[in-house]
């Protein structure tokens, strides 16, 4: 399922008005923490149903194939049909929520789509019509991804400026919990239905899926409660209805830098080797490693289980070190190794799957924020929309391909195919690394040198290595070739900062002139794509605020 980690970065954090409502009890006061915790509870369960049901086919792979008399490629159509609507809806979801329905109605509508989709899916099994099941997955897909956008919008609306990161983290973990629970209990639900009905077959399958649909009803209920609570909060606090803030302009696509396209390739190449693999994983572990169905379900969900606690930790690590592209490279290489272990060895697959789970979490933390490094803020919505759209396109196509490869060529070739996809991602990462090296420097022109300690010259023209995905750093200024190189040569080291527009005090060292150091600097990406740098120098500070502009 497409990641939503990135959404957090789409929203600016502004504190909303703190209305005076001390008269109400804490539970009823929309500003009070207790009340917001209740809201958070409903928010988390809002997405539970869709995440639970998304992987229903993976959890019941063997049963679906047997009861509906499918082959694997037909089975994988269930995943493809989920992805198809999202190739387009990634652009539309935010728009629909902001302009057409509003967040409250929109959420209910999307939850309804999820619910109805799952019911149609189950109904298809009950009446033994596979096309109906596919249609159900299509309807389910219409709601699924957009519901995640709605969930994030609610989170921002209620928690911005407060515990927003924590809330995003919790929602994400809840999503993983949904997937894990599904993977591990749907088999037992099926078995239970089999005992109750006294038979296997499509009717048993349909009943089990219908029981799965109750989680969607739960989500729909949460959507209604949230709508009510939000409306009530609006009335009491006089606040506005939340907006996703996503602005999608398709004409921005032509301005996307090459780096962004490489990021797209990484995204597609990587995720198509994860989700379709999980979709087919259960039977793979049974047939290749002789696992029992229960054990196979558990190991198949290990990626989600690991991802729930590992994401925040790894996210923190990536944030602290800032070398996103190195982390992405690590994640891609370890995933490749994990897939190769699964493909070419009979080693205990727990080892490979744990590595896969860790690297999957690492990639999610490192890859999605990188988009913000290479496109200006006003294009972020379009870039993320496009990324998810391409990802869904890839998932749809590769799901179908994976099914037919398995049918005709077996698991080794399928795994080799997944390895090839990851190799494609690896090529893109390596390309991105070097491209970043070559293009990552930005020349800041016309830096005014106002200070006057040992330096006599003014108006030196300096160039500054600036933007790297690996890290932010400034490398030695070199002077205008027309002037003596003795004029001004110094270097700065800057701690990593994470996205254009943010500022961070820099620990700086001037290599040429130890007396001078940069105490503060700030780089802003302007709407026209150029950069503006503000550098504050010591000991000349605070007078010497240097500004310069650079074309990317």
């Amino acid at each position: 399922m497409a990641e939503r980690e990135e959404n957090e970065r789409l929203f600016s954090e502004n504190h909303h008005d703190t209305g005076t409502s001390g008269r109400m009890s804490p539970l009823r006061d929309p500003n009070h923490l207790l009340h917001r915790i209740i809201v958070l509870f409903f928010m988390c369960f809002l997405g539970f149903g869709s995440y639970f049901c998304y992987d229903n086919p993976a959890a019941l792979q063997k049963q679906i194939i047997q009861d509906m008399q499918l082959n694997t490629s037909k089975f994988m159509q269930l995943y493809a049909w989920y992805s198809w609507p999202n190739v387009f809806l990634c652009f539309l979801g935010g728009f629909l929520l902001d302009r057409v329905f509003g967040i409250r109605l929109g959420t209910v509508i999307f939850a309804l789509f999820v619910c109805v989709g799952q019911v149609i899916f189950a109904l298809g099994a009950l009446v033994d019509h596979f096309w109906l099941m596919e249609f159900g997955r299509f309807v389910f897909g219409i709601g699924g991804e957009s519901l995640a956008v709605a969930q994030n919008t609610y989170a921002v609306n209620w928690f911005k400026g407060k515990e927003l990161n924590l809330v995003f983290g919790l929602q994400l973990s809840m999503a993983r919990v949904g997937s894990t629970v599904n993977m591990n209990i749907m088999g037992s639900v099926y078995d239970h239905m089999k005992t109750v009905l006294g038979q296997t077959g499509y009717f048993t399958l349909g009943s089990a899926l219908m029981i799965g649909a109750t989680t969607c009803v739960l989500s729909l209920f949460c959507a209604l409660v949230l709508g009510f609570l939000d409306k009530r909060a609006e009335r009491i606090l006089n606040k506005e209805q939340g907006k996703t803030g996503e602005v999608i302009k398709l004409k921005d696509v032509k301005d996307f830098p090459l780096q962004l396209w490489l990021i797209f390739i990484i995204c597609v190449g990587y995720y198509v080797a994860i989700f379709p693999f999980i979709g087919l994983g259960q039977v793979f572990f049974i047939e290749k490693f002789n696992f029992s169905p229960t054990e196979a379900r558990l190991i198949n969900s290990i990626v989600y289980i690991i991802s729930a606690p590992a994401s925040p930790v790894l996210g923190l690590m990536v944030d602290k070190t800032g070398k996103n592209i190195i982390w992405v490279m690590c994640a891609v290489i370890t995933t490749l190794l994990a897939h190769m272990m699964l493909a070419f060895t009979f080693w205990n697959p727990w080892f490979a799957m744990v590595i896969l789970g860790l690297s999957y979490s690492l990639l999610a933390c490192a890859l999605w924020p990188m988009v913000a490094f290479v496109v200006p803020e006003h294009q972020l919505g379009t870039a993320y929309g496009f990324m998810q759209s391409i990802q869904n396109l890839g998932l749809a196509l590769i799901s179908m391909a994976a099914g037919s490869i398995l049918d005709s060529k077996g698991y080794l070739i399928l795994e080799v195919f997944f390895c090839a996809c990851i190799c494609l991602a690896l090529i893109a990462v390596v390309g991105l690394y070097f491209l970043d090296f070559l293009r990552g420097k930005l020349y800041i022109e016309s830096v005014q040198c106002i200070w006057s300690l040992a330096l006599t010259r003014k108006n030196c023209i300096c160039s500054l290595y600036l933007l790297r995905l690996t890290r932010w750093r400034a490398e030695p200024f070199s002077c205008n070739p027309g002037q003596s190189t003795k004029d001004l040569i110094f270097g700065v080291r800057v701690k990593p900062i994470h996205s254009v527009g943010s500022t961070q005090p820099a620990v700086s060292r001037l290599t040429g002139q130890p007396d001078l150091s940069i105490t503060h600097w700030e780089v802003r990406r302007m709407r026209d794509g150029s950069f503006e740098a503000h550098v504050r120098l010591w000991p000349a500070q605070p007078l010497s605020v240097q500004t310069g502009r650079a074309a990317p």
């Binding site: 194939i65 047997q66 008399q69 499918l70 082959n71 694997t72 296997t200 039977v283 047939e287 290749k288 190195i326 290489i333 190794l337 190769m340 493909a343 070419f344 060895t345 009979f346 398995l406 049918d407 005709s408 060529k409 077996g410 698991y411 080794l412 070739i413 080799v416 195919f417 390895c419 090839a420 190799c423 494609l424 690896l426 090529i427 990462v429 390596v430 390309g431 690394y433 070097f434 090296f437 040992a454 330096l455 690996t470 030695p476 070199s478 190189t485 003795k486 004029d487 001004l488 040569i489 110094f490 270097g491 290599t511 040429g512 002139q513």
Partner: protein, 404 residues
């Protein structure tokens, strides 16, 4: 790019290179080896002598550079395949037809000169077992009365033998009503060289082996939840011992979802060298055209020594000196798999040969994809790394001078 980054590539390169070398190390080296295969039906039978026998004897002569393999397929009694390996290119077959046609006769079939015979072994299909799997556990028990293959009426080999493709088809029926539309068939093929058949399980065969494709079609099950087992017996000379090995292999490209191969090998007592084998993949197909969704696993019991040789005319005619017999059961399907009645079809394939069993190797497709997939980023890293190092050095040479 800093120097430390450049250095960090080196272990990475090592790992990728190592993996690549490992992968390419799996490549097998196939030595092309050919035999000249000729088929002969009922060798030495002169029709004028007597009435035509009620069975056929197919003799396959596979002539190598300095040895000869003789295969026999015969439907007298239980159907059997006999393999005789001689170290002479001149060895020939002598059938004493008047003796051979007599029920329970011995010594009707000889391969001469007898001193050239290195190894002989026969595989006999003795019984077809059916059981009602009430609990759907696929544990063979509560057997229904077995179908005895020696009592089957076998088809005429004359009409099915294919002299060009070295194949012959033998089909048999029981006399009971359940076999009215049903048949049990053995499709025999001999091979001039190594290769594999298009249709799954696509067993890898060599010129030292022949293949039997066995299927059971259209039989009316005698219970609601019928499953089948096949009883096989192996006959060899005294001084050989049998065991069933299971070898795992990670390339399931030719038989999707099957990662192992079972081989029933015979080796001389007190020696581990394998002289002959029966090899199969533990998979059967429930439809005539094998598809993954119609695959059903099969299991085998361990070989059990038997006191009596199987009731096959070929065995009694060839093995005259108290041969050693052992038997196994191959049972089809696992718990929860569909029952025989759902498709009324089961097919299974086995190789019979001499020497060590052929073993699979990675296909060029796998090696090619992995080589390109790993090679391209590696090449990119090397080229890029060299470029970065050069640039780095150039930058350092320029140097920065201190400010006065």
């Amino acid at each position: 790019m800093s120097g430390s980054n450049a250095r960090s590539f080196i272990p990475l390169l090592g790992v990728l290179l190592g993996v690549f070398l490992c992968a390419s190390g799996f490549m097998g080296s196939g030595v092309p080896f050919r035999r000249k295969v000729t088929l002969e039906l009922n060798p030495g039978l002169k029709l004028s002598n007597a009435a035509p026998p009620e069975f056929d004897l197919l003799h396959v002569r596979a002539l190598g550079e300095n040895d000869t393999l003789h295969f026999f397929l015969c439907s007298k009694g239980a159907p059997a395949v006999l393999l005789v390996h001689t170290n002479s290119t001149e060895s020939s077959v002598q059938v004493d037809w008047p003796t051979f046609v007599i029920l329970n006769s011995t010594g009707g079939l000889r391969v001469v000169p007898e001193s050239s015979v290195q190894y002989s072994r026969a595989l006999v299909f003795t019984r077809l077992l059916e059981y009602d799997d009430v609990n759907n556990t696929a544990e063979p028990q509560d057997f229904l009365p077995p179908y005895d293959l020696k009592d089957f009426a076998w088809s005429d080999l004359n009409s099915t033998v294919d002299y060009t493709f070295h194949a012959a088809l033998l089909c048999g029926k029981d006399h009971s009503s359940t076999f009215r539309n049903g048949s049990f068939c053995l499709d025999f093929s001999a091979f001039e060289s190594g290769g594999r058949e298009e249709a799954w399980p696509s067993l890898l065969h060599s010129a030292n082996s022949s293949q039997l494709h066995v299927w059971l079609e259209g039989v009316t099950p005698r219970a609601n939840q019928s499953r089948f087992s096949l009883e096989l017996q192996m006959v060899s000379e005294v001084g050989f011992q049998d065991r069933v090995d299971v070898q795992r292999f990670i390339d399931d490209e030719y038989t999707p979802s099957i990662f192992q191969v079972s081989q029933w090998v015979s080796s001389p007592v007190n020696s581990s060298s394998v002289r002959g084998f029966m090899q199969w993949k533990p998979i059967a197909y429930r439809k005539r055209v094998p598809m993954l969704e119609d695959a059903t696993p099969c299991r085998n019991s361990q070989p059990v020594p038997l006191a009596q040789p199987p009731p096959s005319g070929l065995i009694s005619a060839y093995f005259t000196h108290n041969p050693v017999t052992s038997g196994i059961n191959i049972s089809f399907s696992l718990a929860e798999d569909p029952f025989y009645g759902s498709t009324k079809f089961l097919s299974w394939t086995v190789l019979i040969g001499m020497g060590t069993p052929p073993s699979d190797s990675f296909s060029p497709l796998v090696i090619g994809i992995m080589a390109v997939g790993l090679g391209t980023p590696l090449a990119l890293i090397v080229v890029g790394g060299v470029y970065v190092c050069i640039r780095k050095r150039r930058d350092q040479q320029l140097g920065y001078q201190p400010i006065n």
